[in-house]
Structures are given as C-alpha cells and as structure tokens.
C-alpha cells in the first residue's frame, strides 16, 4: 500500500517555476533523502517512488511512496533547498500540505486548499485590475457533475 504526499514548491524567484517538472523534482527529493537518510533510506524510499502530479502554475506537487517509508520521505522534504533543470538552478523550499492514502483524498484536500488560497488572494489584492481577474476566477469555479476518474488507487485506510 502507498502514501501520497501533497506539497507545494515555494520560491522567491519566479523563474523557479520552469524547474517544476517530474525529473527535476524527483531528483531533488531523492537527493535530499540520500543526504538525510543515506543509502538505506534512499533504497527504501525508491521502491514505488514517483512524482504523480505537478502544477507549475500553483507549485503543487504530489509524490507517491510506500506506506512503510513515507516517514523517511516526509522528514527529508525540508532538506530540499533548490530545483535544478537544464543547467538552471533556483533556491526554493517544499511545504508539505497533506499526506493521504489515496490520490482522491489528496485531490479533495487540494480543491479545498486552492479555494481558500483564491479567497486569500482576493483579500490581498493591491489594485482593481487584479481584483477583477481573481473575482472572475472564483466565480468560474462552480461544481459540475464529473464522471469518476479512471486510475484511482485502491481505497486505502488513509489514517496512520
């Protein structure tokens, strides 16, 4: 069984977004695990490790690992200090948002989280133009009846 770790990439440099892609993020996380937990930790976490989803615009990253090694993974995430891609590297850090047993629980969390973020952005607008744009985005987020997604992981007991 597996664990899904939802995190966000936070960087002062907006160019860091270019590095938010599977290979760069995967390497950065594995490098951090190797530094913090050594060969043993890296080997443990590598079983079933993958970057399941990313969103370069919001900086959201969803990682997957084995249930047995998610603590090794989570404890190493604060040690990711930069992302490197195509010979460009930018400092950043990872914020862990949620750990779940299935992709679906992480998705539900992310929807709520993004909603809250949008509202906060609306509150912190500095000018009318921004305010109008965000209001438009918020109003366009209405629920539609979705067909159940294919490729859902087994519905694990997400509590740990």
């Amino acid at each position: 069984s597996r664990r899904y770790v939802l995190c966000e990439v936070v960087s002062e440099d907006p160019r860091c977004r270019q590095c938010i892609e599977d290979r760069a993020v995967g390497l950065a996380v594995r490098d951090a695990i190797g530094r913090v937990h050594g060969d043993y930790g890296l080997a443990c976490c590598s079983i079933s490790f993958t970057v399941k989803y990313l969103n370069a615009y919001t900086g959201t990253v969803l990682l997957r690992c084995r249930k047995d090694s998610y603590r090794l993974l989570c404890s190493a995430l604060p040690f990711v200090r930069q992302l490197e891609s195509r010979n460009q590297r930018y400092p950043c850090f990872l914020n862990t948002l949620h750990v779940g047993g299935t992709i679906r629980t992480c998705q539900k969390f992310l929807i709520q989280y993004n909603r809250r973020q949008l509202l906060m952005l609306l509150q912190n607008c500095t000018n009318e133009e921004e305010r109008r744009c965000i209001q438009k985005s918020v109003l366009s987020c209405f629920l539609t009846e979705e067909q159940s997604q294919s490729g859902d992981e087994e519905d694990d007991d997400g509590t740990e």
Binding site: I33, G34, R35, V36, H37, G38, D39, Y40, G41
Partner: protein
C-alpha cells in the same frame, strides 16, 4: 474475558519507565586493513565510524552519538558505545563499510552487549572515560 473499553479519567498523568531496557550497547570491533599501510589514529578511526554511518544512514545516522571507549592502534581493535536505539544503524553501517581512504577494509563486529553486560572487563562501565 473481553475487556470493556473504559472512559479514561480526566487529566491524569502517567509515566512509565522501563528499567529493564538497556540504555546503551557496547560493540567490540576490529578493523581489518589487509594492505599493511599506515594505521588510523583514534581520531581517524572515529571519523571512519561516522563516515560509515553517514554513507548508509545519512546525516541522521552520522549524528548518532557513538563513543570510542577504547582503541588499540596496533591491532585496530576498539570498544564502541552507542545508544541502544542506534545499535542497528551502527552495526549495519560498520558491516557494509568497504573502504578507508580508498583502501579496502572490513569491520569485524566481534561482540555486542547491552550496557552493564560485560562480565570480563571491570575497567569498562557505563561511566567509562570516552577516548574520542
């Protein structure tokens, strides 16, 4: 019979200390360095142990408090002390270490005992002076 689930009493504090569990473990080890070159000093020996931990268990492993209680440079034998929760990390790290300064080597773990378990050597105790 089946135990009923009782309501926990409000705001009590209970502390359990396991006196039987050993706090530290001792390891009697010997480093084999077959090339016959210069032998490590005690400081280099300690550094090697930490390096082994860092390789297998990362910064977390390298931060494990390990003490070299005795060291004999002539025979490359030592007695190490480690907190019991770190025993597996230390033992596995020593076992898997293959090189000292690019020279082939091997650690032999000869004896492992919990704190207070030595019967032979009265000079080694839990308050032994740390060599390095």
């Amino acid at each position: 019979g089946r135990m009923e689930r009782a309501e926990p009493p409000a705001a009590t504090f209970e502390r359990r200390v396991l006196r039987s569990a050993a706090e530290h473990h001792y390891l009697r080890v010997r480093l084999e360095l077959p090339d016959g070159g210069a032998r490590p000093s005690v400081a280099q020996f300690k550094q090697l142990v930490v390096a082994a931990l860092r390789e297998l268990h990362g910064e977390v492993g390298a931060a494990l408090p390990v003490d070299v209680l005795t060291y004999e440079e002539k025979t490359l034998s030592a007695i190490l002390r480690v907190i019991s929760s770190g025993l597996v990390k230390l033992w596995s790290a020593l076992t898997l270490l293959g090189f000292y300064q690019n020279r082939r080597c091997a650690f032999r773990v000869l004896q492992v005992k919990p704190c207070g378990g030595w019967t032979a050597s009265p000079s080694v105790s839990s308050r032994s002076k740390v060599v390095w």
